[in-house]
Amino acid sequence: MLLEIKDLVAGYGNLDILHGVNMEVDKNEVVCIIGPNGGGKSTVLKTIYGLLKPRAGSILFRGDDIGGVESHRLLRRGISFVPQDKNVFPSLTVKENLAMGAYTRPDMEEEGTENVLLRFPSLKEKMNIRAGYLSGGERKMLAIGMTLMLEPDMILMDEPSMGLSPRFVEIVFNKIDEISSEGTSILIVEQNAYKALRTSDRGYVLDLGINRFQDESVKLLNNPDIRKLYLGG
């Protein structure tokens, strides 16, 4: 197992958001987390990525406990994170943003940039434009591109569809498919539950900080309880 989360408790201030979450992501898998707002979806990603300290339970990556390990160390171990918004540096050019994606590994900057431009060719002609001037869709491409710079084994994505037009949602999920088929595991948190379940191999429904359901995505999509409770009927 690439990532194993056991009985994870975490939260902000005096408030626990996660009350014992269990989750697994295997090599080459796309796994999604869906569920209502405030259910703790984003909190899971932030805790894995070292932005929050786990209060109990464990997070194992390739068998090593990474609970509370800082982000820059996780990057070196092969984990990257795409936040839901404010995920680029607006006053830096596209080229500089990509370079910052490889900040911890300058030796990978050149090759990484080439690979990202092969994946997102539309960024090529925008290399010297400030990221703040890009459209929402292009900005999302750039944000995903930045995490690909270090060729991670696992990408954590928070709400990849957020703020995008339906056309770009389609494009982003196609890219997710493409990236995973080349051997990167992806853990997605998503409001757009239908889209997420159609793209992923397995899914978890997180509600009030604990797992409600977990199954293969196809089965979750066809589960009448889930359709009624979480997919709007």
């Binding site: 820059h72 936040p83 404010k86 995920n87 500089e96």
Partner: protein
């Protein structure tokens, strides 16, 4: 005509010192999110350390260099002792501002204990001014302008052409994302203080050369620099540079009509007008830095 040329020369000289101080102030605001009220004391220390080294018989250029290094060290130590622990506690920017007012008063008091409160001047040979377009300018004032310009060119090159410079701009843009891509905040903040303090020290030394040294000199220059960064858009380095020069020019050109004791009024009237009518600054907020 000659008198206007003279005011312009004086304005550029004063303005470049304001710009040097304002650049550090605006960068610190951009990354740490607070107005460093003790920034003026770094200016004062820059001038006084130079004075102290010269009293040991060291020549001005070397004394100035040693002073700049020393002020940078002082700034880094203050950050480690005061602001870093406060950041770890995640206090708000008001608490950081108040802490910096405390630092300002402590530094002033310590300086006064050591150097006394009487006005000091650098011991420099009398200079013969050169005439340019009817304005008198001394060779050392020309060197001052060159040093200011060179410092700024170097800074822009550093910010745009080096990895750590780019990381500094990235952190100023989006601190959370900087952490996510693995930029070491502590290192960036240390580089930030070294640059901010070095620029403040250069400003202080230039003021010392041009006028004199007073323990309380930091406050007035801080307020002028604040006006400059409000004019330039808080967090905007280019804006701070231009804002500083504009204020220096404005307050000197005002002398065509006003007597010198009203000079400071000009800068602060400008600041109030800007706050009332263009609070985001003439050059916008944070879209463009470096």
């Amino acid at each position: 005509m000659a008198i206007i040329a003279q005011f312009i020369v004086n304005g550029i000289i004063a303005g470049s010192t304001y710009a040097l101080v304002a650049i550090g102030l605006t960068m610190i605001f951009g990354i740490l999110g607070f107005i460093n009220f003790s920034h003026g004391e770094l200016v004062m220390l820059g001038a006084y350390f130079t004075f102290a080294f010269m009293a040991f018989g060291i020549n001005l250029p070397l004394a100035a260099l040693l002073s700049i290094i020393l002020v940078a060290i002082v700034a880094v130590i203050i950050d480690i002792a005061v602001y870093k622990p406060l950041r770890k506690k995640e206090v708000d920017s008001l608490s950081l501002l108040i802490a910096s007012i405390g630092v300002s008063i402590i530094l002033q008091s310590l300086a006064q204990l050591y150097w006394g409160h009487d006005i000091k001047v650098f011991n420099l040979p009398a200079a013969t001014p050169i005439e340019i377009f009817g304005a008198n300018i001394t060779p050392i004032q020309i060197i001052m302008i060159i040093i200011s310009a060179a410092s700024m060119v170097l800074l822009f090159a550093f910010l745009n052409m080096t990895r750590i410079g780019t990381a500094l701009r990235a952190t100023s843009d989006n601190r959370d994302m900087a952490q996510i891509v693995g930029i070491d905040n502590d290192r960036v903040i240390m580089v930030l203080w070294v640059i901010g303090a070095a620029f403040a020290a250069i400003g202080g030394i230039l003021i010392g050369i041009n006028t004199n040294l007073q323990i309380g000199m930091g406050l007035m220059i801080l307020l002028k620099a604040l006006t400059a960064i409000i004019m330039g858009g808080v967090g905007n380095i280019r804006g701070a540079l231009i804002g500083g020069i504009v204020i220096g020019l404005a307050e000197n050109l005002a002398l065509i009509e006003l007597t010198p004791q009203y000079r400071d009024m000009v800068a602060f009237t400008l600041m109030i007008l800007l706050l009332l009518f263009k609070p985001e600054g003439i050059f916008g907020k944070k879209e463009r830095i470096g």
